[in-house]
Amino acid sequence: MAESTMKAPKKRIDPVRWARENLFSSWHNTILTLLVGYLIVTSVGPLLNWVLLDANFQGSDPSDCTGAGACWLFINQRLNFFIYGFYPEEFQWRVDIMFGLLALSFAPQFIERFPGRKWLGLFGLTGLPIVGYFLIPGGLFGLEEVQSSKWGGLMLTLILAYIGIIASLPIGTLLALGRRSEMPIIRGLCVVFIEVWRAVPLITVLFMASVMLPLFLPEGMNFEKLARALIGITLWQSAYMAEVIRGGLQAIPRGQYEAASALGLGYWKKMGLIILPQALKLVIPGIVNTFISLFKDTTLVLIIGLFDILGTVQSTVTDPAWQNVAVEGYVFVAFCFWVFCFGISRYSQNLERKLDTGHRT
């Protein structure tokens, strides 16, 4: 990383000299600087006006949007819908608990010396889905049942991405092991599975899962629409996951395999105790990156009629009462995704730097 190079100890920074070196070092650099600077000045000003200075934050209905700028009170008014979808208001505390637990297990991962950081992370990967499984749909322990057709908004986006990644990890690991297997038929099957899933667009997968899956299953056997979308997403994602993990398996030096075999460990012990722990650690950044792309790809479920966060926004920007709020809606969704994805990718870059101990070729 260019910006991480160590700085020389305490050098007096002379702004003029800095500018001459970094902005005006030659005539074409000067022109470039002036051009880019001009573009920034002319675009940032109006943008700032629209986003903040002329924008409308206060009020309760469309007529309060009088300023020339963005009409943020539209977001304000429909925020509940964007976050929870149709989830009944009186039970939204259940979703809030899940949000809280999610933050509790993953926010500390950004803080180096947080006590019990690893355990919280482990809870996030294993305990959290279990708690969510009981809490969100309800129907047990006296919790009122909430049909999955009522889930929506940001909550649905997170559920799709989270379950997609958790479920695809073990399947992806198996597929990666299969692809590296010495048994030709197993290897062939895994290669075909991985390559086919990676070749087709997620849209076709979702479409198949949402309307055609019941055609493949025995009569009388059916899943809810959300579950079917999840099956599609998981299988699709595990093909990508397999490739990431395979990269890790290949990066483990041969000596490790041989040493494990020399100790007399069988295949599963060798993989489970020696190879996979090292390989998985190596590919955490890769896993995080696939998570980011899956997170963004969950927006596609709106095409099969599920109301994720983009779906809820898309369905409300057409409301005739609010005129032309499409841009505000899209900017809001973009901001939500950006905060999540940028934060996570920063985390993965940090990790990459920490794990990069320099012994890779």
Binding site: F81, F86, P88, Q147, S149, K150, L174, F207, S210, V211, M212, L213, P214, L215, L217, P218, E219, G220, M221, N222, K225, G266, Y267, W268, I303, I304, G305, Q314, S315, V317, T318, P320, Q323, N324, A326
Partner: protein, 341 residues
């Protein structure tokens, strides 16, 4: 043999899905009763036909058609779950068994009836295709639309009618095809198209969704017949009959003057037609596999056809549609249900 075991477990997990042996084919009615609710495919949002509010409560004439069936089976009009579907998805969803019935302003045509494996169980709205145009383009009649750009929803009969109409008139057009009616309106509102085409009942609703409804008008032309109605899968005649006769009972109820308000009094009626309709004389329900009072339940909870119409699309609703040809045959329309006997 730990390895073999783990492989076997893995395999069982992967294939567990298929191990459920091909179950003895249960009838739709049985599987609906077992689930405890009716799964009904509707639009993702079309005012007057099927539209969810902020809380996810559905309203509309198509929704009521489903509710009536649920009331007839369970005696509870709320025992319905709605699956919003795009026009593209709807038939696959019904064929695949994801939904038990499709009530999604679907046009009855020969191809759909014969080769899609579907059965149309009647008509709950007689419609026809029309055009909504931007006033700015100065068009008063569809024959002036040569060269127009037309916004249209994917996977509908309208897509085919439009092509036929322009070809027959020797005119050109450019179709812009969207997945949902919301996007179609959004496309029309953004000025992408000169014309939006859909069933006439929809045009009024879609026009009201524009931020400036006065900027657009509906042309007088009707270019097709669009009988809309509930659809079921082929191969289960009992289920087909249930959906068909619940709708027929509602239409007959209007003809006989039975409404949700007076149905309890009508139970004491000595008109044999009403007695058969409400199940106080002869067990019509048993012939369908339903309780004897299925008609009474459906009318009590959902209402007769006229009530359903007035509540959702009638003159007093935002859509403001007159009965027109959807009036009973006794009043100059074509709504005519076979007798309950």
């Amino acid at each position: 043999m730990k390895n073999a075991k783990s492989i076997a477990v893995g395999a069982a997990m992967l294939c567990g899905v298929f191990t459920a042996s091909v179950a003895s084919a249960a009838t739709t009615l049985e599987s609906v009763k077992e689930k405890g609710h009716l799964q009904c495919g509707v639009t993702s949002g079309l005012p007057g036909f099927s539209q969810p509010d902020d809380k996810g409560n559905w309203t509309g004439i198509d929704v009521d058609t489903c509710r009536a069936v649920a009331a007839a089976i369970f005696g509870d009009a709320k025992a319905v779950e709605f699956t919003p579907l795009t026009a593209k998805e709807r038939f696959t969803a019904l064929q695949s068994g994801e939904i038990d019935m499709l009530s999604r302003n679907t046009t009855w045509t020969l191809t759909r009836d014969a080769s899609l494996g579907l059965n149309f169980a009647g008509v709950n709205y007689y419609d026809g295709q029309g055009f909504l145009v931007n006033k700015g383009i100065g068009v008063d009649d569809a024959t002036q639309l040569d060269g127009a750009t037309v916004c249209i929803q994917a996977g509908t009969t309208t897509e085919l009618n439009l092509s036929d109409y322009f070809r027959a008139k020797g005119m050109e057009y450019k179709p812009i095809v969207f997945d949902t009616s919301e996007q179609t309106v959004q496309g029309f509102a953004s000025g992408r198209c000169d014309v939006l085409t859909s069933d006439r009942s929809q045009l009024a609703a879609l026009r009201s969704k524009l931020s400036d409804p006065d900027s657009a008008k509906i042309l007088p032309n009707t270019i097709s017949k669009e009988p809309l109605g509930p659809v079921v899968r082929q191969g289960d005649d009992q289920w087909f009959n249930i959906v068909k006769w619940v709708l027929s009972v509602q239409i007959n109820a209007e003809e006989l003057g039975v409404t949700s308000a007076n149905v309890d009094d009508m139970l004491k009626s000595d008109n044999p037609n009403i007695q058969r309709l409400l199940g106080t004389d002869g067990d019509m329900g048993a012939k369908l596999g339903l309780p004897a009072d299925f008609g009474a339940k459906a009318i009590k909870q959902v209402g007769n056809y006229g009530e359903m119409y007035d509540r959702n699309v009638g003159p007093d609703t935002p859509l403001g549609l007159e009965r027109g040809i959807n009036a009973l045959w006794t009043e100059g329309g074509v709504m005519y249900a076979p007798p309950v006997r």
